[in-house]
């Protein structure tokens, strides 16, 4: 039910009304609305019940285990949120005098330094407002670099078949042709084939390491040597940074540019389409092209950079510093955990993933790469279960909801049939992991003895199976109330 459907004409929540009369006399006549505002007319208690009810129907990290592979659905510490909600931050305005918000600029400056240290890359710009925008910026900088060298024949971007769909999309957005490179049976990209693919047309390669298959590419130094010798640059997709925090740095692996998904690795809020933040980090040779503004410290003072400081910058991606409140949370998270704490993130993210993988293997589940240790996530395939009992990965995913677990990522990477990509993150206890494993084992048993039970699940959720086709073909997000003037 929508809140508009609870509306009764004339009903108001007086407790929230402003004190005294509103003086609107200084508003220009042309700006005043001629028709009644379309707002729900409900009581305060109705509002409370409506939104509390919606939140109870939500299947989220606050209520359930959420091992969504590649998305790193870890817990956002409440303390970080509480600190970020202090009035001294909330009342900042980016147009206030630079002298009046030195504290906030200092935080942004230090966050640039922390991210530089974590990634092993000297240049950082915090402005991109999502991971996808960060990717676009990264590829745009690669293009700017080749253009500046009059190297305009480089038109091809190499992307592994198991990459995130955003990688080829970003490459195409920047005018590149995508060349796909397959993954070998050991989960690594095929280095010999890469050697044959590169040439004077190679602009670069987009990789994540560990890969989307949850495997750390052992030959990454070979890959970077091949690309660099061919005159290309290496792009690192920061989606899986959680696995390697404090262990190995993309800059040291030979990457030239990367984006960071702060919501994945640094526990800023996920989802809902934002607000997001996708800072970019670069090697020295790409520093001149970083988007502005960044924050610099000069003469004992912090200030924004402008086009005068970086004439070759690819430009602005957002007003001021993007979603500054999100950057603030990432800063606080880093300060809260410290250098050792961040390294423990990687330790436990990896340990948790490997624990689940081992127990599932022992229980007879089929891992996509049984001989490789998982990074922070791993892939299992239900090909066998599908063949034997007609139960698909999607059926098992839906049944997991009945056991109080959000489904892992399904049918991704595309190269593995009937698969789950499972990423528990470091913030789950052994009890939670065991519950998830036991649920999967039970569902497997049900698939054999009572496949219909699994195929018709979920049975306990408010909403059962959705019509995926209708959702895609008849996407309609606008509900219009009937207006009585």
């Amino acid at each position: 039910m929508l809140i508009f459907q609870r509306s009764v004409e004339g009903r108001v929540a007086l407790g929230q009304w402003v004190d005294g009369d509103l003086d609107l006399s200084d508003l220009p006549e042309a700006g005043l609305r001629q028709t009644k505002a379309v707002l729900p007319e409900v009581s305060e208690l109705q509002v409370v019940r409506h939104y509390t009810g919606l939140s109870q129907r939500n299947f989220g990290i606050d209520t359930h285990f959420y091992p969504l592979g590649s998305c790193t659905m870890k817990y956002n510490p409440r303390g970080v949120h509480e600190m970020a909600m202090q009035p001294q931050w909330l009342s900042r305005h980016p147009l206030s005098a630079v002298d009046d918000h030195q504290s906030f600029l200092k935080i942004l400056f230090e966050l640039q330094q922390y991210l530089s240290d974590i990634t092993g890359m000297p240049g950082v710009s915090l402005t991109p407002m999502a991971g996808s925008q960060g990717e676009f910026v990264g590829v745009a900088m690669i293009k700017a670099y080749h253009d500046a060298n009059n190297d305009t024949e480089r038109t091809e971007m190499i992307v592994p078949t198991a990459a995130h769909g955003t990688n080829p999309a970003s490459a195409v957005m920047c005018g590149y042709t995508v060349k796909e490179i397959p993954t070998g049976s050991d989960g690594n990209i095929d280095v010999d084939q890469l050697r044959e693919m590169v040439g004077p047309k190679t602009a670069g390669i987009m990789l994540t390491n560990p890969s989307t298959l949850g495997i750390f590419s052992r030959r990454i130094k070979d890959v970077s040597a091949i690309i660099h010798e061919a005159g290309g640059l290496l792009y690192y997709d920061g989606a899986n940074l959680n696995a390697i925090l404090g262990k190995v740095r993309p800059g040291d692996m030979g990457f030239d540019v990367m984006h960071l998904n702060l919501h994945k690795t640094f526990a800023t809020p996920h989802g809902g389409g934002g607000p997001g933040a996708g800072p970019v980090a670069v090697a020295d040779r790409l520093k001149p092209y970083l988007p502005i503004p960044t924050v610099v410290f000069e003469n004992e003072k912090y200030r924004w950079t402008t086009k005068n400081d970086s004439p070759d910058s690819i430009g602005r991606l957002s007003c001021f510093m993007g979603n500054a409140a999100i950057l603030l949370r990432a800063y606080l998270y880093i300060r809260l955990l410290g250098r050792k704490g961040l390294t423990r993130v990687a330790d436990f993210a990896t340990l948790n993933a490997n624990y689940i993988m081992k127990r599932l293997q022992q229980a007879g589940f089929e891992c996509a790469f049984p001989d490789r240790r998982a990074s922070h996530e791993f892939v299992i395939s239900f090909k066998k279960e599908k063949k034997q009992w007609g139960v698909s990965a999607m059926d098992i995913a839906k049944r997991l909801l009945d056991y109080g677990c959000h489904a892992p990522t399904t049918y991704f990477p595309l190269s593995i049939p009937e698969c789950f990509l499972i990423e528990p993150t470091e913030t789950e206890s052994k009890q939670e992991l065991d519950h998830f494993i036991d649920a999967l084992i039970k569902i497997r048993g049900e698939s054999e003895t009572d496949p219909e039970l699994v195929k018709t699940s979920p049975h306990t959720c408010v909403v059962k199976r959705l019509d995926d086709v209708k959702a895609v073909r008849e996407l309609n997000l606008t509900w219009k109330p009937t207006i009585n003037d």
Partner: protein, 130 residues
Amino acid sequence: MFTIPTDCRYTKTHEWVRLDDDGAFTIGITDHAQELLGDVVFVELPNVDAELRAGDEAGVIESVKAASDLYAPLAGQIIAVNELLDEQPDLINQDAYGGGWIFRMKALSPDDWQDLLDASDYQQLISGED
């Protein structure tokens, strides 16, 4: 078990190719391919008259699971597309080898059709995938 008609030839990328009476070819995706993709929600058709080389992208099939490229199995020119798919993309799921055909083409060298996979080769290919 998936249907694999013996009167068609096949590609490794799961297109079927049928030689019609007029000497042109009709192309679609196989039963196996539609099963892997799941419910098809959009089909981006090639332009009529487009000239393609074998292996060129000829369109995109989008399902609830994935978006997947469609390739020209032979070199030649597109002479017709199945416009019904704009409104009813699920024809591909319902009738992959019939009403779910995607485009027709005139081949530069029609004999190349013989070099594509036959039904038993294709059967072997997909059982290898399992």
